[in-house]
């Protein structure tokens, strides 16, 4: 029995570490998608967020500043995507793909320039990383320590879900955001600035993706390596679709996918099930869900179409 509880604690712990990067990125993706702009560049934005987070933490030893900077650089790439897609009407998928080349490219380039040709940043000391809550309160290895003594940024991620939910469903901006993704022309005729709303949404998506990436280097891995994100940006996008483009749905999906990642870590070297097969689960599950619930995953009606202003 004790063994079971202990394992449960470990599983929860692993899940709570794996979920937040997905969750931040997924929340970002919901902003963009709901406003009608497809953003597959989330992966690239996470990567550069991860790098900037690690680099700033290394130089300033201020983890929260590093976290913020990770978000800001993500926002910068969000701005690039916004300019290309909203003002220039570029194909959103192509633009996103370009960012997935550019952002990691810039990240590693700068990394090599700053850190003597290494594409990894130096590992961070615990002091330089983001803090944990309840540190030292519980006995190491106990159930409660595993469950509650996790990073503050993890708690923040879940609080962010509530904040995003509030913005979407209770504020003016949220209403405009959702309307713009459904029927931009109706919004324009009722005086809403479609371009401005979409710009804010896409920049926000970049910011949150950057935070998600920074979380990885500032909490989980303590170091930037080129493959530190590998696919998490795309899992976040899958989570958003799986969660029907809502913040709470995304949260549930991210927890599920985070659980998969957590299990992967726990099951170790793949004696029971290959970690590769576990890694496939989020993707397979998303496809199956889409097939089974055809037509029920309501994509924003104006998604993917550039809005052409009337003269």
């Amino acid at each position: 029995m004790e063994e079971l509880i202990k394992n449960l604690g470990l599983v929860i712990n692993a899940t709570l570490i794996a979920t937040p990067p997905l969750l931040y990125a997924a929340l970002g993706s919901t902003f963009s998608e709901r406003s009608g702009v497809v953003n597959i560049g989330i992966e690239g934005m996470m990567t550069i967020g991860a790098f900037v987070g690690a680099a700033v933490a290394h130089f300033t030893s201020n983890a929260w500043l590093a976290f913020l900077c990770g978000g800001l650089v993500g926002a910068l790439f969000g701005l690039i995507h916004a300019i290309a897609c909203i003002s220039f009407g570029a194909d959103q998928t192509i633009s996103g793909t370009a960012i997935n080349f550019l952002a990691p490219g810039v990240a590693i380039f700068v990394c090599k320039s700053l850190f003597e040709q290494s594409s990894n940043t130096p590992p961070l000391d615990t002091v330089q990383k983001l803090p944990k809550l309840f540190n030292g309160v519980f006995e190491v290895g106990s159930f409660w320590n595993n469950v509650l003594n996790t990073y503050v940024a993890t708690y923040l991620a879940f609080i962010a879900v509530a904040v995003v939910w509030f913005i979407f469903y209770k504020t003016r901006f949220g209403m405009h955001l959702r309307a713009v993704g459904e029927h931009p022309k109706a919004c324009e005729t009722q005086g809403i600035n479609v371009f401005r709303t979409r710009y804010i949404a896409v920049i926000a998506s970049g910011f949150l993706a950057g935070l998600g990436g920074a979380y990885v280097t500032l909490c989980t891995v303590s170091q930037f390596r080129p493959e530190v994100i590998v696919g998490q940006g795309f899992i976040a996008i899958a989570a958003v679709i799986f969660g029907k483009f809502t913040p709470h749905g995304a949260m549930a999906a991210c927890l599920l996918f985070g659980l998969c990642n957590g299990l992967k870590v726990l099951l170790g070297s793949g004696n029971i099930i290959s970690p590769n097969l576990i890694s496939m689960i989020p993707y397979v599950v998303t496809i199956i869900t889409l097939v089974l619930f055809v037509g029920k995953s309501r994509v924003p009606a104006a998604s993917g179409k550039p809005y052409l202003k009337q003269k």
Partner: protein, 519 residues
């Protein structure tokens, strides 16, 4: 129905003076004057392309007049854009609604002008205001229902509430009864009544005579961009209105030898269809076309012609009915099957449906036939044959600018593009040719050309169904004219006995019997 007028003849709500609007060389509004009193229900009557929508779009700030002036409640104004129009108290309810489907009624109404309580949207307050407005004017809406779940009638009321919520005093309703059931139309007329009782002014853009008679105080008739008359609705008959709407000299005379029509090529029985909103657009339509005859389908746009043609060409699925061609019921057959069974068409939108603009003239000329010999063999295109065919047709049909068939068809002029389509369909030589607005946007020379070939098909003993908004065209070409109104055929007249006034009446919902009574 008792109709009380709420006109305040001392206050002129809208004065449009000497309005001229040109689009390039095309004069859409030619010195039009409009005077609308406060509290009035004023109808603007005209056919397609008459200029009534343009005029109202100018009032709503979507267009700027080329010349002329506008006054609202006595103050001269230059209406810059719809936002400005809304500030002036002018609200427009478009024919095609602009509603966010997954949002509620309340959310749609307040969108862009949401009341707030601190950081949040005060939905309760909004809801209250919506209910208040709806009760005041007798408009039943469910404030919490989602747009995708409510009827078209309620959706229209939401659109009206949208403009009222923004403080509109002058409401422009563009073809408001287009998709309503008779019950809903009555409800709408009541609402209009309540609005004017409260001092609001209503402008009604329409072509439907019954509704004008039932709801409007006065009516301004516009024809081919020109102002015809403004009348007191009480004092005129539907017949008079129809006369004014269509009356003009027939312009085109086509040489047609009399032919006795042969067997029935296509027999449409009890055809029902719905549009994307679930509104019935074809309500049991019956129509036949025989060999050696041109049947002209007359009607104002929006009465079901578009959907009918789409079903006959395999671009849309109908709900029920029979479409019998050559003894086979081909109801809901696909485009390919219909083509193989003898149906070809000159589509309404030549650039969208008829041509691949980036393809060469030659390639477009074989659009339905590229897979058949001699144009291809075992999957390989036979370019020689394709270009030879093109050269023939270019010569025969005088298609200009085609450069031996190699020129991109998108670079040809409108008239020549239409010639490509005509050349192709005439050569396809199917038993039934459906021509939809075949001379739209063409100059006189091209029009004559198109008419010549349509008549030639008929002379070759083929069947032709001509669908057009140009009454002249219908009248000069058809052997038999069928009038479509609100999803049904409401009248049938032999071509040589056609009277545009009678036709106009039928197109606007009146009946032949009425004419006889009034004369």
């Amino acid at each position: 129905m008792e109709k009380t007028s709420h006109i305040d003849p001392n206050v002129v709500a809208v004065q449009m003076t000497d309005i001229v609007k040109k689009f390039g060389n095309f004069v859409a509004n030619d010195h039009i004057n409009l005077t609308v009193y406060k509290g009035e229900v004023h109808a603007i009557l005209g056919e397609n392309g008459a200029g009534k929508s343009t005029l109202m779009n100018i009032l709503y700030g979507l267009y700027k007049p080329t010349s002329g002036s506008i006054s609202i409640f006595g103050s001269p104004v230059h209406i810059e854009n719809p936002r400005h129009a809304i500030e002036l108290g002018i609200g427009m309810v478009h024919q095609h609604f602009m509603l966010v489907e997954p949002f509620t009624v309340t959310e749609n109404i307040i969108l862009g002008m949401e009341p707030t309580k601190g950081m949040t949207v005060d939905i309760k307050k909004a809801r209250r205001k919506v209910l208040e407005l709806s009760e005041r004017y007798g408009m039943h809406v469910d404030p919490d229902a989602k747009i995708e779940d409510i009827s078209v009638g309620m959706q229209q009321r939401v659109e009206i509430l949208k403009v009222l919520y923004r403080g509109a005093n002058i409401l422009i309703l563009d073809e408001p009864t287009a998709s309503l059931t008779p019950q809903e139309i009555e409800e709408l007329i009541n609402i209009i009544h309540n609005l004017t009782a409260d001092g609001k002014t209503v402008l009604l853009i329409t072509h439907k005579l019954k509704e004008i008679k039932a709801s409007a105080d006065r009516c301004t008739i516009i024809r081919q961009g020109k102002y015809i008359n403004t009348v007191d609705v009480e004092a005129v008959s539907e017949h008079d209105l129809a006369s004014m709407m269509v009356g003009r000299d027939v312009q085109f005379v086509v040489d047609k030898k009399p032919i006795k029509p042969g067997e029935v090529i296509i027999d449409i029985q009890d055809l029902h269809a719905r549009d994307y909103r679930g509104v019935e657009v074809l309500k049991g339509l019956n129509l036949q076309v025989r060999r050696g005859e041109i049947v002209g389908l007359a009607g104002v746009d929006g009465n079901g012609q578009t959907e009918l043609v789409e079903i006959l060409t395999g671009l849309r699925k109908g709900e029920s009915g029979k479409v019998i061609i050559g003894g086979k019921d081909l109801f809901n057959a696909d485009a390919h099957t219909l083509f193989d069974n003898g149906v070809s068409s000159i589509p309404a939108d030549r650039q969208k449906h008829g041509l691949v603009l980036e393809y060469s003239v030659a390639y477009n000329l074989v659009l339905q036939n590229y897979e058949k010999p001699p144009f291809s063999k075992r999957g390989i295109l036979k370019k020689d044959a394709i270009y030879k065919h093109a050269a023939e047709l270019i010569g025969k049909f005088d298609i200009r600018g085609a450069e031996g068939g190699t020129k991109e068809v998108g670079k040809l002029s409108g008239g020549n593009q239409q010639k490509v389509i005509i050349a192709r369909e005439v050569t396809n030589d199917k038993d039934l040719l459906i021509a939809v607005n075949p001379t739209r946007g063409l100059d006189v020379g091209a029009i004559e050309f198109v008419h010549r070939y349509i008549v030639e098909q008929r002379n070759k003993n083929k069947a032709v169904l001509l669908v057009s908004f140009e009454l002249d065209e219908i009248m000069s070409l058809s052997d038999r004219i069928e009038v479509i109104y609100s999803g049904n055929i409401v009248g049938s007249v032999p071509g040589d006995q056609a009277d545009e006034k009678v036709l106009g009446l039928m197109m606007a919902g009146g009946t032949k019997n009425e004419t006889k009574e009034q004369s």
